[in-house]
């Protein structure tokens, strides 16, 4: 029976095996991807003094990854992604404060809350231009910040949420002052959510998102329900941002109003653009560059480090990543020019 099926298949389309190989190839793991994750885990032992910073990087990377899901894969711009980060942070903080100190439970709660908010607000983004989307997302984050400020009985208002005490991760690993548990915990969460995201973007659903981003008119004309797909990815992205916020709340055991700050939304966009949009590693690379520059430059020129970040950003966007990449390869492959002419 297998033979018969195969015979029919080959008779129908000789190009099928090649087609399968091509499609699968785009999802194959590259060597440098392994290198990224090995390096991230090796840092636990190699950089024991930097674990607090590395934890911040992992959290920022997850936050930027969540933005990449909507910006890089569905073309939805947002200037208010901190809304979900902040909601996740408060959700996780409050869950812990009210006696449920288990970190994973807090993550789930935060993801759930952020997903509900993402789902509800996604409908405001279906129609409208990029400008509308920027303003709507910005507005929602502002509203949440003001809400958190006003309901100080719950959130602690401007004083921040105090009394967040976390139980050990998995009942075994206590959070320590060096940030070791924190980094390992955040990194593992990042890895799991990254693998899930990687699966999603290489799925038929992920392919349809790319289509929606590239040409919504044609996407509809092949029978794709554009709105349903956008709602789905926006909800997922919101949940990811919520988890990032939760990690931040749990590992610092403190939440303040600045989780909703406009600056946070702007920074995460900056981080993603620094690292590159639409290939999933942009968030990780961007977070690394951003935090490393911040850490280094603020020790050299305490106040003006943002100047240099800004300069890099402007150059990157104006010159274009492709051209910088081409320049690099021209330098590294000195004979390529001669060969071309």
């Amino acid at each position: 029976m297998t033979e018969a099926t195969m015979a029919v298949t080959t008779a129908q389309a000789p190009a099928a095996p090649a087609a399968r190989r091509l499609l699968i190839a785009s999802a194959r793991w590259r060597w440098w991807e392994f290198a990224v994750w090995i390096a991230a885990f090796a840092a636990i032992v190699l950089l024991p003094r930097q674990l607090l910073l590395l934890n911040e990087i992992a959290i920022l990377a997850l936050f930027a990854l969540s933005l990449d899901l909507i910006l890089g894969y569905a073309g939805i711009v947002s200037l208010g992604h901190a809304a979900f980060f902040g909601l996740g942070a408060y959700a996780a903080g409050l869950i812990a404060k009210f006696g449920y100190g288990d970190p994973l439970l807090g993550l789930l709660g935060a993801a759930g809350c952020a997903a509900v908010l993402g789902f509800a607000t996604s409908f405001l983004l279906l129609r409208g231009s990029d400008l509308t989307r920027l303003m709507v997302t910005l507005g929602i984050a502002l509203m949440l910040q003001e809400l958190a400020n006003r309901e100080s009985w719950l959130t602690g208002g401007a004083d921040g949420l105090q009394g967040v005490t976390m139980a050990p991760v998995l009942g075994r690993f206590d959070f320590d002052i060096f940030g070791r548990t924190a980094y390992v915990y955040s990194l593992c969460v990042l890895l799991v959510l990254f693998l899930l995201a990687r699966r999603v973007v290489h799925s038929p659903f992920g392919l349809s998102l790319r289509a929606v981003k590239l040409n919504p008119l044609r996407a509809r004309a092949v029978g794709i329900s554009v709105n349903v797909r956008l709602v789905a990815i926006y909800t997922m992205s919101a949940a990811y941002a919520g988890v990032a916020g939760a990690l931040s709340a749990q590992t610092t055991q403190y939440v303040s109003l600045d989780v909703f700050d406009f600056i946070r939304s702007a920074d995460v966009m900056l981080v993603l653009v620094l690292g590159g949009v639409g290939y999933l590693y942009g968030g990780i690379l961007g977070a690394l560059i951003f935090k490393a520059m911040q850490d280094y430059l603020s020790s050299v020129t305490a106040q003006y480090w943002q100047f240099w970040i800004g300069l890099v950003l402007v150059i990157l966007v104006l010159v274009g990543r492709d051209r910088i990449g081409a320049l690099f390869s021209r330098i590294t492959v000195p004979f390529s020019r001669g060969a071309r002419s």
């Binding site: 298949t9 000789p14 004309a221 029978g223």
Partner: protein, 250 residues
């Protein structure tokens, strides 16, 4: 004979301009139609109304007896109504394989599956590969669409529509901009579609129209000027006057 697609008193106004003027027309299942008319007659607008890209000012559209006037474009595609665009609407950064594979996978109902790798379903791969072969696109199936020559992109535009396996197919000037010698190749593939597929072809090249169409509808200034068997329309002196007589159409 059953009616595949019909419109009733369809009107579309753009401000003061009446782009579709009270068009009532029906297309019988399995027939090959051509829709002709001078530039700006409202042919593309009519296709946009049929496929839901535009909402009519008044009137209705019926697909196989069902009123689809309020249906969104993607629902109409799932109900068996597909189209090509006068100006290519493709996914520039995607390959022909991904494009056709996407259309096939959506039609087969796999489009929401997020847990599976794209390319892991053999039904999708086999059908996509077969379509690419039929259109002579296998050699180019792995390169981004934007680098393909225009003729190939035009073929892909039609391949995507056919991957939706429509029962009614609307082709908006599929051969426009395609070199003379490749035009017949395009129309041959369309002619080779199963007999029960209804095809409506918009085309300015009268040789192509007459070699393809069994029936012809003529639009003038948004209104349906006449509809009838190809040879009757060709012979009609009024049609010659408003359209065929003009000559020199590109």
């Amino acid at each position: 004979m059953t009616t595949a697609l019909e419109t009733r008193n369809l009107v579309k106004r753009f401000g003061g301009l009446v782009a579709t003027n009270d068009v009532t027309i029906s297309f019988q299942q399995g027939m090959r139609y051509a829709l002709i008319g001078p530039n700006g007659a409202g042919k593309t607008t009519l296709v946009n109304l049929l496929t839901g890209v535009l909402r009519p000012t008044s009137g209705s559209v019926m697909l196989e007896g069902q009123d689809i006037t309020g249906m969104s474009p993607f629902q109409r595609v799932r109900s068996g109504l597909a189209r090509t665009f006068q100006i290519n609407q493709l996914f520039p950064e995607m390959t022909p394989l991904e494009t056709v594979g996407l259309a096939v996978s959506e039609r087969q109902g796999h489009g929401r599956e997020w847990w599976r790798l794209a390319g892991s379903k053999s039904e999708v791969i086999d059908e996509a590969a077969a379509i690419l072969e039929r259109f002579g696109l296998t050699d180019a199936m792995g390169v981004p669409t934007k680098v393909l020559p225009y003729g190939k992109q035009r073929l892909l535009e039609i391949a995507v529509a056919i991957a939706c396996r429509p029962r009614v197919l609307l082709l908006d000037e599929p051969a426009a901009g395609v070199p003379e010698e490749e035009r017949h190749e395009i129309l041959d593939i369309v002619s080779g579609l199963p007999n029960d597929v209804t095809v409506l072809l918009i085309e300015h090249d009268m040789d192509l129209v007459f070699s393809f169409a069994q029936r012809i509808a003529v639009l003038v200034n948004g209104g349906l000027f006449m509809e009838g068997a190809a040879k009757d329309v060709a012979a009609d002196p009024r049609v010659r006057e408003v359209y065929l007589g003009e000559g020199g159409h590109g």
